[in-house]
Amino acid sequence: MAAKAQTPIRLQVVNFITQWGTVLTILVLVIFFAVWMPPFISPSNLLTILRSISIVTVIAIGITLSLTVNGFDLSVGSVATLADALVISAFVWYEFGLLPAILIALGGCLVVGLLNSFLIVKLRIPDLLATLSMLFIVEGVATTYTGGGSISEGMPRLDGTETFGKLDPVFKAIGSAPWIIVIMLVVVLLVHLFLNQTKHGRYLYVVGGNLEAARLSGIPVERYRTLAYVLSALLAALGGVILASRIGSSQINAGAGYLMPAVAAAYIGFSVGGAGRPNALGTLLGAVLMGVLENGLVMMSVPYYSLNIVKGGVLAIALASTYFRKK
């Protein structure tokens, strides 16, 4: 009898932990760090954490969108690099204004998104492999475009030509608090509404849930898969633009480091609140978890080069909790 009565309770506990484990972990971590090092909980440090996760979150939201159609976009890091190069070069080399510069960056990355969809939807290359090749191609394109070097204000081009372009002051503000945090929250909110409250979001989930059923229900599945990869590239581009504003220059492979934390954030977010599917709020919480962990560990003087061990471990745990229950 006792054993019988226990099973549902154990199951409830397991369910509760999978659904709210991310939130619980964040709370536990915050309390732990706050007790250990009181300055951790100071408003300025909390703001620092939010600022530090903004770029990762925006890129991770892009990955989340590609995950909704049961796809995957590995090229987001390279796309961010490309956007960084495009926007900075537009300011410094070609002396464009704010809007044209940003539109050029977004437009260039839109092309990458369309190419991704072409490879995946039309040529039927598995998503991981298609975006893996785009990762290489786009990285190469960005490096070639910048001539294998960095770009910043006042720095001559590789052929020795002087440059006179300046970064727009509004552009500079994008990458600093509070705007960087506002942009992140707006992106999360918009994508959340898009996925949960609109027809298109519903269709994305349906396509990801059962492609054949979606197709035979009359949903234009190719169009929605294309949409997912295009949106993913656009958000990666936005992340790249913010990154450019933050570092004020274009650097070789600047966006590459964002791929893994973004993937981790998206996957950690899967199970938040029992969603069991990629979702924007979950992704934000995933990014918060990673940010808190990183910030706290750095304050505890864990060397920065060891952080990846912890971050990778968190990703492994998140993936385990997603896939282990699927059996």
Partner: protein, 547 residues
């Protein structure tokens, strides 16, 4: 090749043992050959009889087989036929050792043998080539490797190295004995279905098969390929002493190559007779028998003008050939045919889910373009697909999401934002209308019964205002009560002036609810019948290739 020696002995044992002698131990080949040959002649001359006696098997709730006797002789071709669900596949799976909980005995030459595992079955020289050839092949390996797969896995002994030249020579030799021209270095994935079958038969020969079961081997083949397969089967039986069990729905084929046929119906043997002197009609009568008649709620509806007209529809890869049909308003049109006749493919081709080579589709007299299901739905078609869980519903989603799959746009307002209250209200209405048994519209569809899931698949089309509903085997895996409700629902749709195309391999259903019926055979429509003027036997006669 010791050609003359070879030809002097018959029986597949010869073929195989010689390969091992030659292929795997070249240095000792001569002595081994002689030894093997002597053994083989003895083996080949012996006539073997495989008997299944009083076989019965039950699955939860179903007596699949009862008191079945079945006999095969080496060197003969035995047909096994029966309508869908008669128990043919179950019987052959028992022979293959796939089930261990049957009762009855299996005897080889009068000696009882224990066949409860696939291994034991193989040890008796029984090989089965199932319909899904792809599941038994490794697509990325060569023809030779696929033929010699069992040998490489089981007969290598302690050797670690593969002798590729010998491997290809051995495979080539089997193919030559079969009279099949095939390059052994090709990859299995580059082959046609017919060639893949040949590989499996070759593999069976390597396994010293004395009894070879072919489960509907001709269903996917062209006429020329079928002829080639028949030549091979006859060759195996006549010159290699293999006993062949041939399962097919196509009666003309059975009359062509089988000496004897066994007919199963509802898990029992109806008769076992030499084919000579029988007619297709007689066989059809035996297959059908007299069943309990179910009652069908057929409502009489005045039939209007043509809704859907199809002319000369041919699918790109030949899954459907030159089909023409017409569905009128208020009419329920049956699409009869046995499994593999091409009904599902035709339904999908009409719906744009299968690439079409040529053909014209008209709706209310106007030609429509249907290249994707999206276009089909916009034009006014609806499909209830055969594979419910794979193609019709999202089991992980709640009911209301499933019910609005095809018509979500009507609940979407500004910028595509959803009015979820309206969506759920509409879902509740459909749940009530179709009597879907569920606590609420929030329930995950995975928790519903098969019949209720099927109602969900139908229900998602109700708000689309489709003109023509295509049903593909809608009663598969559905209990009697839910079946009845689905028939009533179809009747209501017809009464509302919709056109219905109803594909089913259950002849009783076709007879019960349709006004007119097309019969499909070999991927095309072979006959149009008015249901009131026909019989189940007549439909089955045309379904099995009668003319």
């Amino acid at each position: 090749m010791p050609g003359p020696l070879f030809l002097s002995a018959h029986g597949s044992r010869v073929v195989c043992d010689l390969f091992f002698a030659q292929g795997w131990a070249p240095s000792r080949s001569l002595t081994v050959n002689r030894f093997v040959l002597r053994r083989c002649i003895i083996a080949a001359q012996a006539h073997h009889i495989l008997e299944m006696k009083n076989i019965a098997i039950e699955f939860p709730g179903v007596k699949a087989l009862q008191g079945v006797d079945f006999t095969v002789h080496t060197g003969k071709i035995q047909a096994l036929i029966g309508a869908n669900g008669a128990g043919k596949s179950t019987l052959m799976k028992i022979l293959a050792g796939a089930y261990s909980h049957y009762t009855g005995s299996i005897r080889m030459d009068g000696q009882e043998v224990d066949i409860h595992t696939p291994r034991a079955s193989k040890a008796q020289g029984i090989e089965i080539v199932f319909q899904e050839v792809d599941s038994a092949l490794v697509p990325s390996l060569s023809v030779a490797e696929n033929i010699m797969l069992d040998v490489m896995v089981n007969k290598m002994g302690g050797r670690q190295w593969i002798n590729w030249a010998e491997l290809h020579r051995s495979a080539q030799a089997v193919l030559e004995r079969m009279g099949v021209q095939l390059e052994t270095r090709l990859l299995a994935q580059e082959l046609s279905l017919a060639q893949k079958q040949m590989i499996l038969i070759a593999r069976a020969l390597c396994e010293e098969a004395q009894f070879l079961v072919l489960d509907e081997p001709t269903a996917p083949l062209s006429i020329a390929e079928t002829r080639e397969l028949f030549r091979l089967i006859k060759e195996l039986a006549a010159n290699h002493g293999v006993g062949v069990v041939f399962i097919s729905h196509r009666l003309p084929e059975i009359f062509e190559i089988c000496e004897e046929l066994t007919i199963l119906r509802d898990g029992q043997v109806v008769t076992c007779q030499p084919t000579a002197g029988l007619t297709s009609l007689q066989v059809v009568e035996w297959m059908l028998g007299h069943r309990f008649s179910e009652t069908y709620p057929k409502s009489q509806v005045p039939i209007g003008g043509p809704l859907l007209e199809i002319r000369d529809l041919t699918a790109r890869e030949g899954q459907v050939r030159q089909v023409s049909l017409r569905v009128n308003a208020g009419e329920i049109v049956g699409l009869a045919g046995l499994v593999g006749a091409g009904k599902t493919e035709l339904c999908k081709a009409i719906f744009g889910a299968l690439p079409v080579k040529h053909g014209e589709i008209r709706l209310r007299g106007a030609p429509i373009q249907v290249r994707t299901p999206h276009q089909a739905v916009r034009s006014g078609l609806a499909l209830v697909p055969e594979e419910r869980r794979k193609e019709g519903i999202l089991v992980e989603e709640p009911l209301f999401v499933n019910l609005s799959l095809s018509n979500l746009a009507i609940f979407a307002g500004f910028l595509g934002f959803l009015r979820k209250a309206a969506e759920k209200l509409a879902a509740r209405r459909i749940v009530a209308e179709l009597a879907i048994k569920t606590p609420s519209e929030q329930q995950k569809v995975a928790y519903l019964s098969g019949g209720n899931q099927q109602k969900v698949v139908v229900g998602k089309w109700l708000n689309t205002d489709a003109d023509v509903y295509i049903f593909d085997e809608p009663t598969k895996g559905v209990d009697i009560g839910a079946k009845h409700e689905i028939f009533v629902l179809i009747g209501k749709l017809a009464a509302a002036g919709k056109g219905i195309l109803y594909a089913s391999c259950e002849l009783a259903e076709i007879m019960g609810i349709t006004d007119r019926t097309y019969v499909m055979y070999d991927r095309t429509i072979v006959k149009e019948l008015v249901t009131a003027d026909t019989t189940e036997s007549e439909i089955l006669f045309y379904s099995t290739g009668g003319k």
